[in-house]
Every structure is written in structure tokens, then in C-alpha cells.
């Protein structure tokens, strides 16, 4: 028997089995396959492959994942308004601290020369400036040390001496507390991956 010409291209058989062809195109393929042994074999092989793949049995999960999933979903996340308020308080505390530190910063920079006063030999001037900065940093650290010592003495002396220094200390302590609590709340909302078994 003479086999018909105009064999469909191989994609046609895929589309036929996938149900992607119009009814007219399906009929055309079926008529051709009925008359063509080679194409009939090709289609049959493709169909066998489909059956092998789609016949893959399901595996048993074996455990119930719903309790873990529900537990993860029920863990309360921080609400957006709460996050907003925490951020606002943290920013306010940061501004207050900066404001409290501003007089000290002005004092620190008051001895700096104007840029126009720097000599042409800027390397020498820079070295001198670094030296001066180093001295100023030493003064600051001595001041910090004195401050800490005075706080300890003020605490021992009694409430009368505590107020000026204590204000700054309380401010710093409050800022630290707000930072810790705020970040703790924010981090609590992050969901952790299940532990590795």
C-alpha cells in the first residue's frame, strides 16, 4: 500500500495528544495516521511516553503538615501601626540625643580653622590638623572618663548633685532602651524557617 505524502510535522502529534488542535485538524491527523504506518508508529510511541509519565504513582506524604503550617500562620506579626509608632519614638529619641550633644559638638569644632586659612602646603597643614584632632579626642575621652566618675560620685553623694548629669544619662539610657525594645518588637515579626531535622 502506498503511504500518503504530506506527513504532519512531529509537533502536530504532540498538539494532537495535548488536545490543542481544532476538530478539523484532529480529523486530518487521524485520517493520515489511519493510512500511514510510519506516522501511526510515531503517534503510538508518543502516546506510550505520555502514559508512562502520567502513570507515575503518587507518593505518600506520611505526615500531617497542617499543625506546623497553622502554628506559623497564627504567630502574631507586628501590625503596621505599631511598627510606625516604634519608628517615630526611636527617631524622636535620636533627635533629642543629638540636640543634647549639640553644645559639646560646637565646642569641639570651634577651634577648627576656616578652609580659606589653610596654607598652600596642605600636607603639612593636614598633618598638623590630625595632630590637633588627636589631642582633642584625648580631651573628649578624658571628659567622658570624668563624666562617668562624677556620676558615680554623684550617686554616692546624694540626690542634690545628681540632676544635671543624671538628665543626660537618663536620656542616653532611655534611647538605648527604646532602641532595644523597638528592634526586639520588629524582629519578632520575622518568621523563622523550620529547624533542620
Amino acid at each position: 500500500m502506498n503511504e500518503p505524502l504530506n506527513h504532519p510535522d512531529e509537533f502536530r502529534f504532540h498538539e494532537y495528544l495535548d488536545g490543542e488542535l481544532s476538530s478539523a485538524a484532529q480529523t486530518e491527523v487521524e485520517s493520515h495516521v489511519a493510512a500511514c504506518a510510519a506516522c501511526s508508529r510515531t503517534l503510538a510511541e508518543l502516546q506510550t511516553l505520555f502514559e508512562q509519565v502520567e502513570g507515575l504513582p503518587e507518593l505518600e506524604l506520611g505526615i500531617d503538615l497542617s499543625p506546623q503550617i497553622v502554628a506559623r500562620l497564627e504567630r502574631p506579626a507586628l501590625t503596621l501601626p505599631a511598627i510606625r509608632w516604634v519608628a517615630v519614638v526611636q527617631v524622636l529619641m535620636a533627635i533629642l540625643l543629638l540636640a543634647a550633644a549639640w553644645p559639646s559638638f560646637q565646642l569641639f569644632t570651634s577651634s577648627w580653622p576656616e578652609p580659606s586659612q589653610l596654607s598652600a602646603d596642605w600636607q603639612v597643614a593636614l598633618a598638623e590638623r590630625i595632630g590637633v584632632l588627636g589631642e582633642q579626642w584625648s580631651v573628649i575621652w578624658e571628659g567622658v572618663d570624668l563624666f562617668v566618675t562624677s556620676q558615680a560620685e554623684a550617686l554616692r553623694a546624694g540626690p542634690g548633685l545628681m540632676l544635671p548629669q543624671l538628665g543626660l544619662t537618663l536620656l542616653a539610657a532611655s534611647a538605648l532602651l527604646v532602641w532595644l525594645v523597638g528592634n526586639g518588637l520588629l524582629l519578632r515579626g520575622i518568621r523563622h524557617k523550620p529547624p533542620v531535622r
Partner: protein, 182 residues
């Protein structure tokens, strides 16, 4: 005896904040979602983790689910997409099957036939895992989720012709691999 709630009711309850209702959806579909993930990863632990992540993601996106359609196909597509994205992040192209064996069903066939089925199944799984990640995804969506070319293209955000050619090439690779195993 009261009837179990419909999936539509469970989704509606979940949308109103009832996480326990979502738990029931998980129980009904975790097996099929797990199998999607296992076909993509070939490793039980990864498949279990991805099953969890699929449901978490689905919960977060439940507002996008069309109540007129069944939940199962939707959640399985979420799974396939999530697995594909995860595999792309890991840059894992071809994977190897772990030693998992298909659990035999109690279907009355003899032990030899069962053994042959298990071996065939293992060969098919291994062949699928050897496919590049994108090919694996189109095979999963076409053969196991039974969605058409156009929907696959939308799901994977690929041109229609790319989906066709990837599917055809994947099948060629599968046929070659399975013929070698004979």
C-alpha cells in the same frame, strides 16, 4: 452526620481570619502538593519544606483566588511556580532522585508486577529530574496539572512558542532517557 465544609466555605472562612479553616484546606491538599514538589525536587525533605512554603504563600495570596474555581489546581500551580523559582535561585539544573520508593498500593497485583511498576516509576522520576528546571516545570504543568499551552505560558510568563518547544524538547529527552533504561 454533618457534611464536611466545602472548599469555597473554607476559603471564605480563612479570608475572614479563621486560620483553622485553612488548616482543613492543608489537610485536603497537602498530599497532592507534596507530590508536585517531589517531582520537581526529587528529595523528600525539600519537598516537605516546599509544601509548607506553598501553603504559606497561598495563605498570603488567598485574596487572588477565584472562588468559582476549584482550590486543588490553583494550589498545585502555586507549588509548581514556587518550586521553579526556588530551583532557579539554587541554580540547580539537573537533580538526582533520592532512594525513595513508591509505596505500593493495595491493588491486588502480584509482587513481581509491583516491583516492575516501582522500577518503571523510579526510571520515570529520574528521567524527569534530569530535565533542565524549566522543562521540568512545563512537563509538570502539562502532564500532571493538565493545563493547556496558553495557561502554561501565562503561569510561567513565557511566550507560547517557547512553551511548545520546551515541552516538545522535554519529551524528546524523556523518550531518549527511558529508551536507554529499557
Amino acid at each position: 452526620m454533618s457534611e464536611p465544609p466545602s472548599e469555597r466555605a473554607l476559603v471564605e472562612h480563612t479570608r475572614r481570619g479563621d486560620v483553622r479553616a485553612f488548616g482543613e484546606l492543608v489537610r485536603r491538599h497537602q498530599q497532592s502538593v507534596f507530590n508536585v514538589c517531589y517531582r520537581m525536587f526529587g528529595e523528600r525533605r525539600d519537598a516537605e519544606d516546599m509544601t509548607q512554603e506553598t501553603f504559606i504563600r497561598a495563605f498570603q495570596r488567598l485574596e487572588t483566588f477565584d472562588l468559582e474555581r476549584p482550590f486543588g489546581p490553583w494550589i498545585r500551580r502555586v507549588a509548581a511556580n514556587l518550586c521553579l523559582n526556588q530551583l532557579k535561585r539554587r541554580r540547580e539544573s539537573r537533580l538526582q532522585l533520592d532512594d525513595e520508593l513508591d509505596r505500593p498500593a493495595n491493588d491486588g497485583i502480584g509482587p513481581e508486577a509491583k516491583q516492575e511498576r516501582r522500577e518503571t516509576a523510579a526510571q520515570v522520576r529520574a528521567a524527569i529530574l534530569e530535565l533542565p528546571t524549566h522543562y521540568r516545570a512545563v512537563v509538570e504543568l502539562r502532564h500532571f496539572q493538565e493545563i493547556n499551552y496558553r495557561e502554561i505560558a501565562q503561569e510561567l510568563k513565557l511566550p507560547l512558542n517557547t512553551v511548545r518547544s520546551q515541552l516538545f524538547r522535554a519529551r524528546k529527552m524523556l523518550a531518549k532517557r527511558l529508551k536507554t533504561d529499557e
